[in-house]
Symmetry: D2
Subunit: 474 residues, 4 copies
């Protein structure tokens, strides 16, 4: 992302001009690059560099910030320095892997009995090479929220429902463009046992965080996976086929059971439907190529598991809840031909709910579904169980459909599960649209139960934290 | 303001824990103090220091940030270090002025012919000493948004409507707890001529920015003003009474004319009412001790002038629009016995409109009035006149009353000026309440006209910028 | 201190110009103020502000940094903005204390039985008011390295040699312009028992760090002390005169004994003299108004105690060893009529030894005495006792006199104590001069013994650390 | 470089502990990575990451800083987290170039008529592939201080003495691991005309600063050069052989003439020898594989040109003068079998002259030659010509040989050119050794003459600045 901004004219800087502050200092730690452009002759060059940084050319992609004092904005860029090179598109270069490292990785992988592949941000766009690699090696596969949809559920490597088991049993773990962060137990031997790691990434942050690879391939994931498949040639994989097939079988069973359970989860004692019923109803109607944006505290914990799709966005490892509505608007404008579904809790919805107005004005054809349980429920649960009282975290079951209609959006409130299919059909048909679905706050999510909300010291989840403590003590 | 926050447990820091980032680096430049408290034994001491900094004890007051890794939060503070001193209230100390400087100031001020007193943030709470000082000296007086209401409109020193004239004519200018920032032309001789300055402040930022005082009193404004009045004793002021009285007379006439004009400003060609009509109707109903929160881009430019009250808040010199709704909620909870009016444009309203839900849940008895002109009008004006086309800055005339009702708030839409008095009465009576008042986007505000929006190089307003250029060239 | 610097021209900034880096970011955390001045019209205003900050006007005094792109340096400052006010000297204002707080302090102090006064940086210049205050109250007194010489050794309040005892026994402790930092056990009750504190300072950092005062006087120390003496009037002090006199008596005995012991400390087994012999010989010749600059690791530990003088400088709480030579040069140029003695260890001497050349060229009449024990002895001691081997911390007994002579300075090497008096006389007579005095590395300093070098967790000294642990456990 | 440091124990942090400051904030902007390691369990992981960053694995190589609170230093690293992977050496991976980009580069290069290759930091270690590439393509070549010695003077591509001409005439410029910084006129068309660029680098800072490459190869220079040679195969180069040979011929003539001139440059009017005489005498004795460290202001300007060698270090683009002595010590300890010559001016020498003592103690077999002109001559020249007076920049012709002998080093003072050969032989034979060679301050260096010292606005040299202005105006 490239953010362009203005700043007080130089002659008023540090005098108390309107909005006189040093923007770049403020954003320094949350951007890849932040500069104030003071020299008109360098404007094009700075923009060029900013775009390169944002795209991660030679570094990590991410947000870039430039601001311009208004005197720079008013100045002329000398004609002669307006070089062609600044206007030329720069196709992203492929980083090719070192051949020796490729050979070492092949040796390790093709000797492995229980190889596991995990992908993340850096693997986006590498789907076909990834599937070819999985097929050749016969490894099992876990995706993460960052790279959902690269490998379809039908692929025999997918064992998502067996996540815990496979992390423990794998003997070689390949990370492709993925940090070994809290979502992967920091790659700790307490969870991954004696597994050896192969790290593949084009960004240092995804190459060696927490665990060093026995082999590390600093290369574009597409290029690295292609090189591995090619170097392996016809070499037969040593994978324990029985193990892999067994995992897949149990995954299929569990996933099926989960879908069935979700669709029939009973209402709460308050008569309100369980969030899983909503998710099941949505999943049933979701086109294969839908883009799902999940948002929320408690509700995200259900939606992360309950919705399957080929493109997926959520608040990510910084937990920036509230992104649902704006992400959904942007996605629906960028991909007007695909169905964009925003599935959000009511607490998170509030952050940017006003952007429904934006969606209407710009005719952004997204569908917004608010799972309205009248609470910051993950906090309610934590407060009640830790302190025995609840303060400031109960919301009203507000009329979000009424709000949406006030901005001119099609909107319905849904209070019973049997009304869902029809309401969903209508919403999908009349986009932008909003469904305000009342759900029970009694449903206790995995995150509320297992620790993410109460932050154990060594690992993010209670089970992993226990394992880590046990392991460290030998 | 004191912000307390949590941060990732120390053992997960820099490993990619959930929300693993250095908060203090992010807020460093916008806080007075920002610390991560890692040592349980120092928790009380850090809180003590944080509170002192926030109150500006020995520095400048402002926001303070502390965060605590969750392992610190879980730790015990040793009983012995829980000293009484940390729990004791610390009454703010008065900073007393240097007697020699006081004498020098009296000499300068009591010899002045056309003294002008201007107050700001630091003068809050010094109202009675300020009025006594004005009475003794016979100076004329200008307030600023930071210290609105210290001196009532009836006071003979008040010449607010003659701001431009008095800034040019004064021979001695006293700033009391006020920066000479863009709102005061940086104190430039181009605007203030040969006036000499007396600076009074308990914070360096309000003591010597842009212009050095011929006398500078680093002291609590209350104490400094009392010391000046006392040191002057019965010394007769040299003020040109005719000049002062003449300014006051013209001020009264202009202010009266303004009120009259506002109440009768004709509708736009689109048949929608002028924002001044709304302001006049509000002013007519406003109790003397009302708290007004003004917010907006264009609308703020009208409201700043059109509303008179004893307590006033607005987005301030950083132009942080969107503060209206939350400021109003907070003020109404802190002062439940006073009427709190939020007067906001529709663009700024959107930032935090969702907090209407908060107002309802917490029964915050504020009145929210949205001047709905369906636009970021100051931007529309700028785009149209500068570039000849308008992009992304036109809003819908959204149904904000409908939105408020969706959250359970009393709300009405008002489209005709003659409906205002009744609607205002009903809103004042059934708080929290919202009025969504449709106004014409054709009204051109002072800020849109005079330059604040297009940011001249040397001064924030076109007239001052012209004066500055002329003056610099000698 | 005000540092002015140049920086790359704006058009070459961020292009890789010569020395293209952001200086202000580098010095931000070690300066009070750091700015790049880009606007020629603001040059005088920035210099004015910089000087004010450096002098601590309205904040804490300290280093200030300004840099100027060379294009700013080449630009003209418009004549009209060269205002008189920027060239006018600004006499430092006195901060006067709050009368109520003064009364509260008098009540507490004049009721105290065993009051102790401790001074620091902020008390400089307040000597006569301090002595008057001590006389009136009858308190005992400890100085610190920051404010050495305010109260002469002969004054009956001085009990420096009883430091440990008096810190434990005092019932009220007054800090005057002094932080309660590691040198004062952080003011911990573990060391100061139940003593109540009165804090007097004109800088927040010396007002409330670590311990809150029962009374806190934010005021210029001179003004605060004067106000206390004046408010006390003829009120008789409640001081336990016997206690105070007893402490003084023991102080005088100990100090006498120390002087005697120092002068006769036997040589090491290596036949080299003990550093105390050197210090005793220097003290015997030192004029009353000498300025002493002490520097070193181990040697500082001896010199801090062994040299008494009216003005004293050392590396301070950041332990910036190496300051001896440059401080001495500066002091001797600033006070050419007073004897300036630099007493430094050979390790620290090396940092800036080359500046002897500067001393010669600028005829800076300082005397440099190097206590040459051929080692970073405090490190040698630590390495040997902790790890059993010594690496990289033994120096040669280099010929520093030879080095000084190479730069044209009078210099002698002294190897026997009985040569000292004559050598010192010659050095004092032919300044600048250097004495390279060989001393034994066998002398074990207090810092090497007691913990400063091995940094206990809770307190800087082993004894205090033990006390702190015992106290915290109740 | 990896810097490890200690910091105050956590319980004393922010309390005013000894040396209580945030080191990481201080070094942030001048390191690649700076962290405080608070968690004992992460010590090995942090060290691992620090080493990777210092070596530039996946980023830019450079200084890395870690500090450890003393409580971390005293803690145990749990045995189980002491993983093998942290102790394993990690061989640097090769970054391979994208094949498409290689083809594009070959097409451009093998069609070029007047290709120029320039190397820098990133090309170190790529000497043999570089020479193979130059031979195949027939390009001309310029080195820079960062990569001196990769291509021997005898190689037909070397045209160093024709630098100005070749920069103007080249039609394609290849940078290999080299920034287009001030030393290369920022790659401006004002100097390089219409040349097209090929950029080769494994660090973004050397890939696209100031000029975008028509082709950009983000790859290890060795790998990139090999790939280019290989892809070109037998394709005949289009180089204008006559042009290349002509340049080489003129280079050989000029270089020969320079050598001859240097050896016979007449003394100054003060009878002191010209620095070039010293350089000529040194060059005559220098072994082929000598390591030269040049340091100084004015003298560096002579030495940069006058000394030819296979390994070369100087203060670099930040102009960190004073590095000569320590760099020389380090180099001589790292390469005891090669002759290490430090050629430094007397001003720069002073910064770290005391480290001669270190050289003696550690028997670092370097030769230090001080060109002693008794001045910061580049400043003297600037002050005299700009302001007409000289302040503080004249030194004494100090007896640096005497100083060296005081530390036990072999040292001679040389005042006449005919004494040089013998003195140099003796110094080379009895290392460490120092020659203090008196030279005339009348010699005016290129930097003093041409602008580096007075910093023009657009380009670092007067001639380039003129060209840039002319070009920009079209």
């Amino acid at each position: 992302m490239l953010v362009l901004s203005g700043v007080v004219p130089t002659p008023q800087e540090n005098r108390g001009g309107l909005q006189d502050m040093v923007h770049t200092d403020l954003v320094r730690t949350i951007t890849r690059y932040a500069r104030t452009v003071r020299e008109p002759a360098l404007v094009l060059q700075e923009l060029d560099e900013a775009v390169s940084r944002a795209f991660g050319q030679g570094g990590e992609p991410g947000p870039v910030y430039l601001d311009f004092p208004t005197d720079t904005l008013r100045a002329e860029v000398p004609l002669r320095v307006q070089l062609d090179e600044h206007f030329r598109p720069k196709p992203p270069a492929l980083l090719m892997p070192d051949a020796k490292a490729v050979d070492a990785a092949v040796e390790l992988l093709w000797s492995a009995r229980r190889p596991l592949v995990i992908t993340g941000r850096g693997a986006r766009g590498a789907g076909s090479e990834l599937r070819r690699f999985l097929d050749k090696l016969g490894a099992v596969y876990l995706d993460t929220g960052e790279s959902r949809g690269l490998v379809p559920d039908e692929h025999p490597s997918v064992v998502a429902a067996m996540r815990g088991t496979v992390m423990t049993e794998a003997d070689v773990v390949v990370t492709v463009g993925r940090r070994l962060d809290f979502q992967l137990a920091f790659g700790s031997p307490a969870v991954f046992g004696g597994a050896r790691f192969v790290r593949i990434a084009d960004a240092p942050s995804e190459l060696r965080d927490n665990r060093r690879g026995e082999v590390e391939l600093f290369a574009s994931p597409t290029a690295a996976l292609a090189a591995l498949s090619s170097a392996a040639g016809d070499r037969p994989s040593a994978v324990d086929r029985e193990w892999a097939a067994g995992l897949r079988k149990r995954h299929v069973e569990r996933a099926g059971k989960l879908r069935a359970t979700m669709a029939s989860t009973p209402d709460g004692s308050d008569g309100r439907m369980h969030p899983n019923r909503l998710l099941a109803a949505l999943q049933a109607k979701l086109p294969r190529d839908a883009i799902v944006v999940a948002d929320g505290g408690d509700f995200l914990s259900f939606a992360r598991v309950g919705l399957s799709c080929s493109s997926y966005l959520d608040p990510g490892p910084f937990g920036c809840i509230g992104v649902g509505v704006p992400f959904g608007i942007a996605a629906s404008l960028a991909f007007p031909d695909r169905l964009v579904l925003v599935a959000t809790g009511d607490g998170s919805f509030g952050f940017n709910a006003i952007e429904l107005d934006t969606a209407v004005r710009h005719r952004a054809p997204a569908v917004f579904v608010v799972a309205n349980n009248g609470a910051w429920q993950i906090e309610v649960h934590d407060q009640a169980s830790t302190y025995g009282r609840v303060a400031g975290t109960r919301l009203q079951f507000a009329d979000h459909a009424g709000m949406a209609r006030a901005f001119g959006m099609n909107a319905e409130r849904v209070e019973r599960a049997d009304e869902l299919p029809g309401a969903i059909d209508r919403a999908f048909a009349r986009r932008p649209a909003l469904l305000d679905v009342v759900v029970t706050p009694e449903a206790v999510s995995a995150d509320a139960k297992s620790g993410l909300a109460w932050v154990p010291d060594l690992q993010p989840l209670a089970a992993w934290d226990d394992a880590e403590r046990a392991w460290r003590q030998g």
